[in-house]
């Protein structure tokens, strides 16, 4: 993991002192709420429906056991005993008092964390593959590059007052688990013609009101050019992105209105100019120095097959299901990457109690090199677990309600906070997620359905990523009533696509039945159990689902 040096510690301490002063000026009335707003947002503080909300950055979703314990402590002392992991690999606390927030930031600084740029019209937390550094299919670990981008984008003097927020995602594997084509900038690590490391660069993806898949603007960018090129993209956006309408201010709209070819030309022209200064070229030695922090852990050699694991699987079907769904192959033989589901049947997606966080921190120390990841699917991940240890790990997780074997299945639902917390929402998201989870909760039913991603947003801003749900649910307000629209066929992976609306929306009391109708239609029409829901929708189109939901036309 990256470790702060004196400079990084000084940076975060100075920033916290600066924000403490701003909070005092707000509390004294010297700063108006309007003047305070962009300052608090760039420190992760939102004003929500009932209270201030603090969003803490978990850079590229990587946490140490010590850091997770600190988050548990903050949840216990300053909140109501829990935290909420978000779709951007961050954590939110929903009930802190504004006056306590500088103290919370001090607590975070003591474990090399902060809440910087988790909000506001700046470059946000850089996200990546939650299996980075562990997944068997990886070309290179994307986190060193995400860390370089995190540093360079922190309090960037030129890019702190952009037209709108700006999100960058990096993947190091061809299986895209970071949804890079749905980001303002998406970076895909790849090998160049000479065997060197570089990136394919995508620009202009995003969800929200106007979902768009990013355009590839560069097939290959050498790694040492990363910051030079990103600065060029940022400058073109800062100068030319729309500022007349916040709903048209993201870079995707600029790309769409300018045209991909023209925007590529502008970026390349700016890039040529920035290159001349040579200020941002990354020396190989510095890339390697940062990469060394993310060196693979020194795992004892193990045989590929674990007798203990096989015996435990034979012994318990529930455990075998957990292993099948929640354990992904590791680079190292005899190890696995374990998803700790924060989606208990009927529970609130992404919530973890202080006690659960403590337990996961303990288990990470015992079984996973003290490392934890947060996935954009709102689960936790223990990245380096010996297969021999899985039975014991499972037993400990189970005791805390953390052993739900549903990763990637129909009950592994993403949901935004919705009308229960959010000032923007039109509809509740969490209760719908809970009802769906309960409806499909039996292990047999989930196994029969197979891989199916349901994603729920409580309003058009799409924080629940409904556009890329295999089944997406969007809550809208229709004459004072909460209604849910269903989209089908979205995907956030390397075959990214935006789901299509299937027809008129459903009332709260109808929508769970409607989703079940969609699922049953799939089960009826799939060619074989090997054909996933997404594959079937892509083959069949919308018609059979329309007919099942609304009757033959």
């Amino acid at each position: 993991m990256y470790r702060y040096d004196e400079f990084d510690h000084g940076f975060v301490a100075a920033r916290t002192a600066q924000f403490r002063d701003q909070v005092e000026r707000r509390l004294s009335g010297e700063l108006t709420e309007d003047q305070f707003k962009p300052l608090r947002l760039m420190n992760g503080v939102y004003l929500q429906l009932h209270a201030y909300m603090l969003r803490i950055a978990i850079p590229y979703g990587t946490l140490s056991a010590r850091q997770l314990r600190k988050l548990a402590h903050i949840g216990r002392v300053y909140d109501k005993g829990y935290g909420h992991f978000t779709t951007r690999q961050n954590i939110q606390f929903n009930w802190p008092a504004l006056k306590d927030i500088p103290a919370i930031l001090d607590e975070l600084a003591s474990v090399e964390m902060h809440a910087l740029q988790t909000s506001g019209n700046c470059i946000r937390n850089v996200t990546t593959d939650h299996f980075a550094g562990a997944a068997a299919d990886e070309i290179a670990d994307p986190r060193p590059y995400a860390e370089i981008l995190r540093q360079w984008s922190s309090i960037h003097p030129e890019f702190s007052y952009l037209p709108r927020k700006f999100k960058i995602a990096v993947t190091g594997a061809p299986s895209d688990r970071a949804a890079i084509q749905l980001h303002d900038i998406g970076l895909e690590l790849k090998r160049g013609p000479d065997g060197a490391t570089g990136f394919a660069v995508y620009v202009g993806g995003g969800q929200g009101r106007t979902p768009m898949i990013a355009h590839k603007v560069r097939d290959y960018l050498p790694e040492e050019e990363l910051l030079t090129y990103i600065e060029a993209v940022m400058r073109v956006y800062n100068l030319h992105g729309r500022r007349d309408n916040k709903y048209k201010a993201r870079i995707k709209i600029l790309v769409h209105e300018t045209g991909a070819a023209e925007i590529t030309r502008q970026i390349e022209a700016e890039y040529e100019e920035v290159r001349k200064t040579d200020l941002l070229r990354l020396p190989e030695s510095e890339i390697q120095r940062i990469a060394a922090y993310f060196a693979p852990p020194d795992l004892p050699e193990k045989p590929a097959r674990s007798g203990a694991l096989e015996a435990a699987k034979a012994d318990s079907r529930e455990f075998a299901t957990f292993v099948e769904n929640n354990v992904t192959p590791h680079k190292a033989a005899g190890y696995g990457v374990v998803t700790v589901s924060l989606k208990p049947i009927g529970g609130i997606p992404g919530d973890a109690t202080d006690r659960q966080m403590e337990v996961v921190a303990d288990l990470a120390e015992r079984y996973s090199q003290s490392e934890i990841r947060v996935s954009h699917e709102q689960n936790l991940v223990l990245p380096h677990v010996a297969l021999d240890d899985l039975p014991a790990l499972y037993a400990s997780l189970k005791a805390q309600g953390l052993a739900t074997g549903n990763a990637g299945l129909v009950t592994d639902i993403i949901a935004c906070p919705g009308l229960d917390y959010c000032a923007l929402a039109n509809a509740r998201s969490i209760p719908l997620a809970q009802d769906l989870s309960t409806r499909f909760g039996s292990p047999e039913r989930q196994k029969e359905i197979g891989e199916l991603k349901i994603k729920i947003s409580g309003c058009i801003n799409a924080c629940g990523h409904h556009h890329v749900g295999h089944i997406g649910l969007l809550g809208v307000d229709k004459r004072g009533e909460e209604v849910y629209q269903i989209t089908l066929g979205g995907s956030g992976d390397e075959t990214a696509s935006v789901g299509a609306l299937v027809g008129p929306g459903f009332k709260t009391e109808e929508v769970v039945d409607a989703v079940e109708t969609v699922v049953d239609t799939y089960l009826r029409l799939r060619e074989s159990p090997d054909e996933t829901f997404l594959a079937a929708v892509r083959r069949l189109g919308q018609q059979p689902f329309k007919e099942a939901l609304y009757g033959a036309a």
């Binding site: 100075a14 309090i155 003097p157």
Partner: protein, 178 residues
């Protein structure tokens, strides 16, 4: 010193103190003064040949939707570039200031005008601004009291000429104030 009395007389924050504004703005159709004159970019570009005969300094006021590239060929005749912030949250002039300093090597005054607030001023300076027209009273009070809410650990080599920044450690993008 009560800032209320001096806001009209000494509106410009430069070199760590409030100073008088010696520049007179000449908008479209207004007379150009004898002394230092500030013209909107469009007027400057249209009348620059006639203005060349003048014997007093020229300044140019640039709005955020105007391209600084248009001014670039004429910078050797310009003693002041004023970049407007119609709203403090409009960051376009941040890019324009960096381009002026770093790409076009401009050494004259780069002044922030408009909605200039203290919390943005350290960032403005790192982008190349060296003067600030400050009307906001709380901002004036804080500046008068010696406040400058900078985070003196920089993670970008902005290359501005307005303040000295020195490399910090091995990261080529990290800087400290000199």
């Amino acid at each position: 010193m009560t800032t209320e009395q001096t806001a009209a007389d000494l509106p410009i924050w430069r070199d760590g103190r409030f100073q008088a504004d010696e520049w007179a703005l000449a908008g479209e159709g207004e007379a150009v003064s004898e002394g230092p004159a500030l013209l909107p970019l469009a007027r400057f570009l249209a009348e620059r040949e006639a203005l060349a005969a003048r014997n007093a300094p020229l300044g140019v006021l640039v709005e955020p939707n105007e391209a600084i590239e248009e001014l670039a060929p004429h910078l050797d005749r310009v003693a002041l570039v004023a970049l407007n912030f119609p709203k403090y949250a409009d960051g376009r002039a941040m890019s324009s200031a960096r381009l002026l300093r770093e790409r076009y090597g401009y050494r004259g005054e780069v002044r922030a005008v408009g909605d200039v607030l203290i919390d943005q001023m350290p960032l403005m300076r790192r982008c190349g601004f060296d003067a600030f027209a400050v009307a906001n009273e709380p901002t004036r009070r804080q500046l008068a009291a010696g406040k400058w809410p900078d985070v003196p650990f920089y993670l970008q080599p902005t290359g501005a000429t307005t303040q000295h920044e020195i490399p910090a450690g091995t990261r080529p993008w990290a800087r400290r104030p000199d």
